[in-house]
């Protein structure tokens, strides 16, 4: 990781820490309908459409690539009963709230990985499309505050 990338990761970490401040969280709830310290434009309704398209439910595993704060992966696990694997770069904070840990327990797995050094198999190489991948790549340039 070079200096530019390191600075970017540190800035994202800072934004995710500040993103859970009460005033900021109230804004997020008004805008997206979520309260995870999210930095995206994915609304509650759009999260529901993801769940439908990915046919999420009990027994299904969801891989949330670039999971950031955990929105909407954690929410989808909570409402559909699926398992969720959250993956993001090292240092990225997941907003795993204690209530969700106790409620969903082993259905949550949070993992750090660096896409610059971790090679992911292409779809053509992966004969078993499970867990179902979902990429949360619509981070804002910095972070909605």
């Amino acid at each position: 990781m070079d200096d530019v990338e390191r600075a970017m990761v540190e800035e994202f970490d800072r934004q995710y820490r500040l993103g859970v401040a009460p005033a900021r969280r109230r804004v997020e709830e008004a805008v997206l309908g979520s309260g995870y310290g999210a930095t995206s434009y994915t609304t509650l309704r759009q999260a529901a459409e993801l769940a439908e398209r990915l046919e999420l439910g009990p027994g299904v595993s969801l891989l949330d690539l670039g999971a950031g704060s955990g929105w909407p992966g954690l929410h989808l696990a909570a409402v559909t009963g699926c398992r969720v694997v959250l993956a993001d770069r090292p240092g990225r904070a997941f907003a795993l709230r204690s209530s969700e840990r106790s409620r969903m327990g082993r259905r949550i797995s949070a993992n750090s990985c660096d896409p610059l050094v971790t090679r992911c198999p292409s779809a053509a190489e992966s004969s078993t499309p499970s867990p179902t991948p979902m990429s949360s790549v619509d981070w804002s340039r910095s972070s909605p505050c």
Binding site: Q46, L50, A124, S135, S136, V137, W139, P144
Partner: protein, 111 residues
């Protein structure tokens, strides 16, 4: 696989492309289209749902809801940073209104 993504509208001038990149998220400078990238990665049955209108609504909501509690957010982020972010949001809205930025849901299946 399914994901939402913001990208530069196809076919802008060099000047408009630079403006879109400045107003959009970090990854928005991808030069290939997402259908092309998905196809190259071995995905098939690619479906796109244009959510640009919803993107505009949400971007405006971030701007206006943040403005409503500006004093509280200035305490969290600092006055300078908060104002910079609000200015960036206005730039994003202008880029969406100018047809420079789009947001879509892509869904695809591994072949």
């Amino acid at each position: 696989m399914a994901f939402h993504v913001i990208f530069v509208s196809p076919g802008p001038s060099e000047r408009d492309r630079a403006r879109a990149i400045a107003a959009g998220p970090l990854h928005v400078s991808a030069e290939a289209s997402y259908p092309e990238l998905l196809t190259l990665a071995g995905f098939r049955r690619i479906d796109e749902v244009d959510l640009t209108h919803e993107y505009r609504v949400t971007a405006a909501a971030w701007l206006h809801e943040s403005a409503r509690v500006a004093e509280q957010l200035e305490e969290v982020f600092g006055i300078e940073e908060f104002r910079r972010r609000q200015a960036e949001r206005k730039d994003t809205l202008a880029a969406i209104d100018g047809g420079l930025l789009r947001r879509s849901l892509f869904a695809a299946r591994a072949s």
